[in-house]
């Protein structure tokens, strides 16, 4: 288990958490996940993405409001949404 301190997580660490969570939900490994990678490129559909977001919310103890999900297209968009909640 990774130690999570609210608001202090480095961006690179966050990316790693995302990649690990995505791999758990999709039950497959993702090589080379970058911030610029689009979610659809990973072969993850909208339900899969919501599952990933749910996992991240539980692990990081945050809540991402529905309104901020609509515009998420890339990994970067998602990490931004997570980060903005962490600093709340």
């Amino acid at each position: 288990m990774m130690q999570v301190v609210r608001g202090c997580m480095e961006r690179a660490e966050l990316l790693a958490v995302f990649a690990r969570t995505a791999a758990e939900v999709a039950e497959k490994e993702f090589a080379n996940v970058l911030e610029s990678t689009s979610i659809s490129e990973l072969g993850i559909d909208s339900l899969g993405m919501l599952e990933i977001i749910g996992s991240l919310e539980r692990e990081l103890k945050i809540q991402i409001p529905d309104e901020s999900l609509a515009g998420i297209l890339t990994v970067k968009d998602l990490l931004n949404a997570v980060e903005s909640r962490q600093s709340v």
């Binding site: 072969g43 339900l47 993405m49 977001i53 919310e57 539980r58 609509a70 515009g71």
Partner: protein, 523 residues
């Protein structure tokens, strides 16, 4: 707007949606619910679908919310009949006076557009009469509701028949309270569904097969804690193929939470029948029939011992009073028990047809090959009857149903076929049961040297266009997909070869002799 005018509704928020829908219906206006933009999905595909629905329904106004408006605004100049896009807040500013409209039971109540696919969805006409009959059928005869204590719990989307009719209209007809939660909340955290049933002492819930599988997968035994689901007496399952294994695993997992497996209520229905066609008797749980797989291909459901060559099908129950169900052959003649054919149904719940689509309507709503000239709905589903109860074997038209959403293979095949590196017209999309869940598999003929890159590109394209992740993309060498005598790839044969592991696979491994562009071309 006046009586009979169509109002497109794209309102994601459950309470605003329900109020908008009911408000329109009370004024005699015909609501046309449309699903909101899914995140991460190709925006262009969404605009095309909304434009198609607006045009096909002739909606003159589209009702939405402030937040959703930007996602539907581009449709306004593209849909001919559409004059304005209005938000629920704007509508509320004005006093619209007293509603005084006479409504006949035969009047159109709303249009429900068939879900999922990018292929032009069809608008099923639903009258007040249809709604009253179907609500009575599933609430009273199916669920055997008791208004003194029953309470529904639902996360189903409200722009879909199971959520809208099953949990808004049916319960309104019979005075049953319902606890709603957003679909996204359930998918993010499946445990919420169970928590809400526990907390509100819910007695009735409903979900497609995939949702039961998701709970089994995500909810940890140690988290069950004080969860008490002994209150739940109806756990409906429908909208996609039902797997006995999925439901058994769910029951097993939730046994410590006092879930009673007899509450499972497998059922069968579709938008063209308003909602429900068959239900099993209340509290009879999952009953299944194990038959010979090879026999099924020959249209006979012969009982067999469980094992390799056997398929286990779930009993979906019987038709409601005043309704009939039967199985017919290709010429519309009734078949005997255990003979596989197309499922047909008739009765007062069944729609009169598709809105302003006489040809499509005539294809699916027609008489049987017998003296009785009554109209039956030809469901397009394959199945067989056994002592008045129905078993569903699959789709006649190879419809792909994944997690409650319908996709036409031809739509997916067309999109993939247009991609660079794929041989045009040499793509087959089908669904297969993988680990107890229906999944999409796409096979395409392509160059072996590009196989890996092509696989990834095809998967990405499908997610982008359909918001659906394929279980697997298989690139096969040129000319290896099985074909009909006229040269079209055969879906069923391809699916069978995939499941048997006999499908040739192109691999981009160095040193492997590669198929050339023209190798193995068949007639």
């Amino acid at each position: 707007m006046k009586k009979g005018d169509r109002l497109a509704i794209v309102v994601p928020d459950p309470d605003e949606f329900v109020l908008s829908f009911l408000g329109a219906v009370m004024g005699g206006i015909v609501p046309v619910p449309i699903y909101p933009q899914l995140s991460f999905k190709n925006v262009e595909t969404y605009h095309e679908t909304v434009t198609h629905i607006a045009n096909a329904s002739g909606a003159s106004m589209l009702l939405t919310t402030q937040v959703t408006k930007p996602y539907v605004e581009p449709v306004l100049p593209r849909a001919e009949a559409l004059k304005s896009i209005v938000t629920v807040d704007e509508l509320g500013l004005e006093d619209h006076g007293k509603i005084d409209v006479a409504i006949d039971p035969g009047d159109l109540a709303f249009l429900q557009f068939t879900s999922g696919s990018t292929s032009r969805p069809k608008g099923v006409t639903v009258t007040h009469n249809n709604l009253a009959w179907n609500s009575e059928s599933f609430m009273i005869h199916g669920l055997e509701k008791d208004s003194s204590f029953d309470k529904g719990v639902s996360w189903l989307p409200l722009f879909h028949d199971m959520g809208l009719i099953g949990f808004v209209i049916g319960p309104l007809f019979t005075n049953i309270p319902v606890v709603f939660m957003p679909t996204a909340s359930f998918v993010r955290n499946p445990r919420i569904w169970l928590d809400k049933i526990h907390q509100h002492r819910g007695t009735i819930t409903y979900a497609p097969n995939f949702a039961y599988a998701l709970v089994t997968k995500r909810v940890k035994e140690k988290d069950l804690g004080d969860l008490d689901l002994s209150c739940l007496r109806r756990a409906g399952c429908g909208a996609e193929p039902i797997q006995a294994k999925t439901l058994h695993e769910f029951a097993e997992k939730l046994r410590p939470a006092k879930f009673d497996a007899r509450a499972f209520l497998p059922s069968y229905g579709m938008a063209e029948a308003t909602l429900a066609i068959t239900f099993v008797p209340a509290f009879s749980g999952v009953r299944s029939d194990t038959v010979d797989k090879a026999g099924l291909e020959q249209a006979a459901a012969t009982p067999a011992a469980a094992g390799e060559g056997a398929a286990t099908l779930v009993n979906c129950g019987h038709a409601f009073p005043e309704h009939e169900i039967a199985v017919v052959d290709e010429s519309g003649r009734r078949l005997a028990d255990r003979q596989v054919g197309q499922i047909v149904t008739r009765g007062p719940s069944i729609s009169k047809g598709y809105y302003l689509e006489p040809e499509l309507t005539a294809d699916s709503f027609k008489p049987l090959a017998e003296a009785d000239a009554g109209t039956w709905l030809y469901t397009g589903d394959l199945g067989y009857m056994l002592e008045g109860e129905v078993f569903i074997c699959g789709r006649l038209k190879d419809m792909i149903i994944v997690r409650g959403r319908n996709f036409y293979p031809s739509d997916i095949e067309w999109v993939v076929s247009e991609m660079p590196g794929v041989r045009r017209g040499n793509v087959v999309a089908f669904s297969a049961e993988i680990d107890g869940e229906e999944q999409l598999v796409v096979t395409a003929e392509g160059m072996s040297s590009e196989a890996e890159a092509l696989k990834a590109a095809v998967a990405q394209r499908i997610v982008a266009d359909f918001a659906l992740a394929p279980h697997e993309v298989v690139i096969v060498p040129q000319g290896t997909l099985p074909r009909t005598s006229s040269g079209k790839p055969q879906r069923r044969k391809t699916r069978q070869m995939y499941l048997d592991g006999t499908l040739a696979r192109a691999r981009s491994v160095q040193g492997t002799p590669e198929q050339t562009e023209d190798a193995g071309v068949t007639a």
